[in-house]
């Protein structure tokens, strides 16, 4: 049957060569696993997950700062997270000795949440800060962790 097989070998070589080039290019340009979950690189998920965290979360703060935690739980700021006032402190939480937090700037802090604004929900405690405080810093009268007087 392979009487005149000579003329078959050349196209066979060409085909195999083409196949080889195709596979080589494909392996080089298509990222590993592409298509595993959809039309994208699954490695992207791990890449995005590897971003560092800035806000430790209040559960973390409570492990070491029991006093402030108790004070806060007793007052109206019970549901205001520590870092909502103190800013991102993951570095501090991981190594308190190396990263000492800067205390919040009270002159701006309370105003952001409590300045009177007609668009705020009516039930939210709000004051015209300039009139209300008479120029004294808010924490001169209110305890930040439990603001009720």
């Amino acid at each position: 049957m392979f009487r005149d097989s000579g003329h078959l070998i050349r196209p066979a070589v060409v085909l195999l060569l083409g196949l080889g080039i195709f596979l080589a290019i494909r392996a080089a340009v298509v990222p590993k696993g592409f298509g595993k979950y959809g039309h994208y690189r699954p490695q992207a998920l791990a890449l995005i997950r590897s971003k560092p965290i800035s806000f430790a979360g209040q559960d973390m703060c409570l492990m070491c700062h029991d006093d402030q935690g108790k004070a806060r739980a007793a007052g109206k700021h019970a549901h205001v997270a520590c870092e909502a006032c103190h800013g991102p402190l993951a570095d501090h939480a991981n190594d308190p000795a190396a990263h000492k937090p800067v205390l919040p700037d009270v002159a701006n802090l309370c105003r952001r949440c409590h300045e009177k604004d007609a668009a705020k929900p009516k039930g939210f405690p709000q004051v015209v800060t300039a009139e209300h405080s008479g120029g004294v810093l808010c924490n001169g009268c209110h305890q930040p962790h439990n603001p009720h007087l």
Partner: protein, 246 residues
Amino acid sequence: MEMTRRDLFTIGGKLLVLASVGATLEQIVGAEPAPDAYKMADHWWGMIIDIDKCIGCGNCVRACSKENKVPGGYFRTWVERYQVAEGKQPKVESPDGAMEGFPPLTDENIKSFFVPKLCNHCADSPCTQVCPVGATFISPDGVVLVDPDYCLGCRYCVQACPYGCRYLHPETNTVDKCTLCYHRITQGLTTACCENCPTQARQLVDFKDPKDPVHEFLRHNMVQVLKPYMATNAKVYYKNLDGSVR
């Protein structure tokens, strides 16, 4: 049987197809599995936003910008203040995305309220559909993400998003957007914006968790998504959203 050149080409062609299918399968099966306890299949993330609780303090905007190192002047989340006077176009403002909150509004006689906005993590998102290279996608747990190493910066997706939630990062020249703090929620933390919302106006929810309060919330409240007519299947639900909000 006589083997002709035509036969050889036919068989060769079939082999070529088979080989490419095989190579694709190898690519898919050969990928290493995720090494940790987080199971993507067990989650379907979204958010609920209660308009009646938002005080417009801008904590979410600041927190997001710090957590995700969002470049100045760009926003992954922002807050708008609406003033809706009868028979007039609503006035919408968002000074610097509400990074520093809002200047006080004194007029009590106009309907006014705050609307926090972010990527809606749509289940049928137009943004992921237009990407020519597969650099933006919805993850198996329902978060719309961008692969920064694969994005070309062509901006099709920026145009396709009906909610204006994407931007081109000025330094990397790749598209950037809210990741729903994917690096946090996959390790049991909530998003930076929800962590820092003092009134719980915004809450991260997991629709696949039967114990999540979202089910109760959806059962008992009037909820709405933004631009429902776009049929994007948005997963950010707003409670008591005014009809004027776009």
